[in-house]
Symmetry: none
Subunit: 546 residues, 2 copies
Amino acid sequence: MKSPVAIYDTTLRDGTQGEGFQLSVADKLAITELLDDLGATHVEGGWPGSNPRDEAYFAKAVRLPLSRARVVAFGATRRAGMRCDADTSIQALLSAGTPSVTIFGKAWRFQASRALGISPEENLELIDDTVRYLKARVDEVIFDAEHFFDGYRDNPAYALAALQAAAQAGADALVLCDTNGGTLTHEVSMAVAQVASTTSRPIGIHAHNDAELAVANSIAAVLAGASMVQGTINGYGERCGNANLVSVIPALSLKLGIECIPRDKLALLTRIAHAVDELTNQVPRNNQPYVGRSAFAHKGGVHVNAVMKDSRTYEHVDPQAVGNSRRVLVSDLSGKASVLLKAREHGIDLAPDDPMAAEVLRRVKELESEGYEFEGAEASFRLLISQAIGQRQRYFKLVRLNVSTHLADDSSTEAMQGGTATCELSLSVGGVEADAIARGNGPVHAMDRALRQVVDRFYPALASMRLVDYKVRALSSGDGTAAFIRVLVQSTDGKEVWGTVGVSTNVIAATWRAMVDAIEYKLMKDGMPSMNDATHPGKERVSERA
Amino acid sequence: MKSPVAIYDTTLRDGTQGEGFQLSVADKLAITELLDDLGATHVEGGWPGSNPRDEAYFAKAVRLPLSRARVVAFGATRRAGMRCDADTSIQALLSAGTPSVTIFGKAWRFQASRALGISPEENLELIDDTVRYLKARVDEVIFDAEHFFDGYRDNPAYALAALQAAAQAGADALVLCDTNGGTLTHEVSMAVAQVASTTSRPIGIHAHNDAELAVANSIAAVLAGASMVQGTINGYGERCGNANLVSVIPALSLKLGIECIPRDKLALLTRIAHAVDELTNQVPRNNQPYVGRSAFAHKGGVHVNAVMKDSRTYEHVDPQAVGNSRRVLVSDLSGKASVLLKAREHGIDLAPDDPMAAEVLRRVKELESEGYEFEGAEASFRLLISQAIGQRQRYFKLVRLNVSTHLADDSSTEAMQGGTATCELSLSVGGVEADAIARGNGPVHAMDRALRQVVDRFYPALASMRLVDYKVRALSSGDGTAAFIRVLVQSTDGKEVWGTVGVSTNVIAATWRAMVDAIEYKLMKDGMPSMNDATHPGKERVSERA
């Protein structure tokens, strides 16, 4: 039996090198917690020297109550001709206060001279000195040998010497990086086996996907002796991305029987892969291995019949093992099990033959066909279940909403101010019609203010609640008509963060739905009785202006 | 030197098993010609027995003047208990009139009994009989051994017996199919080497991507003795897709020096990969290896500097070899070097000490600090450079814009319609004040329609332009004020796709900026003179309603 493999995630650092992939500090913290849930051993959070955002992240991340994952700060070997204690980048690494630090250094002789402008010998000194300095000050020091495979091809002795320098200085792991992502799988196997024969230190692999081989190369490295895999969720990263941990993990776990994440966490894979897509506003790839919507979708009639007889005929693993589910594209037979599972997560137990379960399934399918997506909107899903089982309360009712936005005078584009927006809103709450007019610096802001003006009057518990994130995506429509728009809203009351979703061709309508769900979820979870259900003394009218 | 490898494309057959991947007969014929241009040896066109569309395709495809590719008809072994000349599916294969036929048969003992309900011996007879019958009637017969690797794992002797039956009946190639896509790379290597030691017939590989290993498995099979690779353009296909030929071809050609497509065709790869996406209405994957927009895009400042010194530092192959090109991304990680390089990509040469260069950099940093992001918005960046160097033309000027959205009556949330939106717009174009009022199913739609109504009147070249994608992201603001909102718009004129960006606290204002940039970029790239610069005969007023 092969020894366990450490799962080192770098979504927050190398992942953010990908085009169009940006993360706020809040996103990074949320992803850190998801990775810990999944059972990653290391979460590389950023490069403390490089920008203020990463520093803000580390200040908070080191205080997260993680169960398994270590937060890792990343940086380069010290500058040439400078002592570690005078190098601000090295000091920034220490200031991050993480239990683990990764430093990268050159393992390609050509690169030492070309990129750093120093002699090969001086490069080895930088490695030795930096690793030694850090190892005396933090618990774990990981050495990333940049361009290892190119360096090994060019000058094997030098590439191995770089590893040896790090090992002798106390590095806890030697990570072989295929920085350019162009190394073929059989070359990775041979090089890793060679390294394994020269060191007793744990070996890691850091593969890039430029030749569409990152997953294969990571697996090949493990088979040749590596015991750490660095990669990202969904393979995000610079150029063509990093090794996709979402594909590496089940191959190691299910196909090779190698321990990496705890076995009972594997079924979280699909949910976490999608949650990272949602948080980073990336479009999930339907055909993504293991976790994509199409990964276990059967279209051909031959295949469908055969799968019904025996799933082994067209499924390489059990979809439930990775938290995904089988879909049959011609006849709609899928999903019930996962809906039941989700309902149970929300504390609602439904038997498979309960008519309520069928109703929940019907509603989910209907909404999904309209473009709803509940991966990032668990609160909306919770409300949907309540509704399907007849327990949803309505706390207020829309009478009318008007939002106007006015822009003028862009004599130069950048001088144009954002314009103004006004929202006029009437709601009916417990038989009372209540109005508000609010201004905002945009229609969403005006609408949020008007809505809160009205509902906070009736439900004072809402005072603690605020919107923390707002995301919009146009859903492609093949037929050239106006696209559907999906809005995801994240809200918090200081204790919990919850996501809600709205879909419409109209961005204002979609936003309205997501905002209403956010408020109704808060009231529901606090056990607030609806004023619509109470007998109200009489009809009155309340107005307010702001 | 390894012998040449045949490139067998099945985009038109296995590719169309992918979810959301449909092709008309005209699409199929166009793709056939593209594949012939690229230098594929085989184009599997469809399954003549299965649907009328495939028959219509073959009737035309066999008359196409192809230079290298053979059109291939695909089908199954004959039905059990029926002679080939009485089997309508076998006769449909012959009626297709192709020089080449591929038939698939079972190579997994369990599958013969489970899916076909026949004995293992009878299955071998079906293979023998069908291959023999077809080989007497068409030039080339290729045998696809379905589930070969699963069968080989389960019962190697039987899997090899299936191949032997086909070989003895005259099959020109024995193709080992990883039908479920779950086989690991080292298992493929071992099995192919074993087959190669038992037959002198050419061996093929048909890999699926369910474990994200299809490209690696195809390359491993070639290294172990296979001389035909079956796959699809961009890896389209059932579930997680087939082996991506767009990644297999350059690995064989550039990295292993194995002849597959003619060497001078390799530079067509990017264009053809994108053309297939266009024909099939698939969104191109930016991070696709070799041909994606981001495949040679450099973001980090360290990387940009190193690539400027020597491209080998962060590029595994020369982008031009596959018809792609290097891009430098402008992001908050970048410095002057990448701004200059970016300007050069746009045909504007600035010396590092040119005050214009400093002005561009100052402007980029200023806008980035406001939340602008130019990675997905090259067209906005191009306009920014023009502006910084005093060459930007203004084609129209906003006088005023009002957008109103109305929602009502959500007695149940899901019954609420999307509401309506109205946009009133006044622009000044060349001294003329022009108005429009447009309705839409949402504010963005209404605004797009109003804007286009006005500008298309003055600049008819815009008729070919349309919006293809619209993305919105709220940028988190730590201080609790209303969030900044970033809008990214993608537009096309059928020849080029370009991205533009707008940022504001107001989603309408941000959208307006991105839309205006999109139009101005189109007019600028077409060399359209601004009507604002022309002397206009006199002030007039133009109005229109829609």
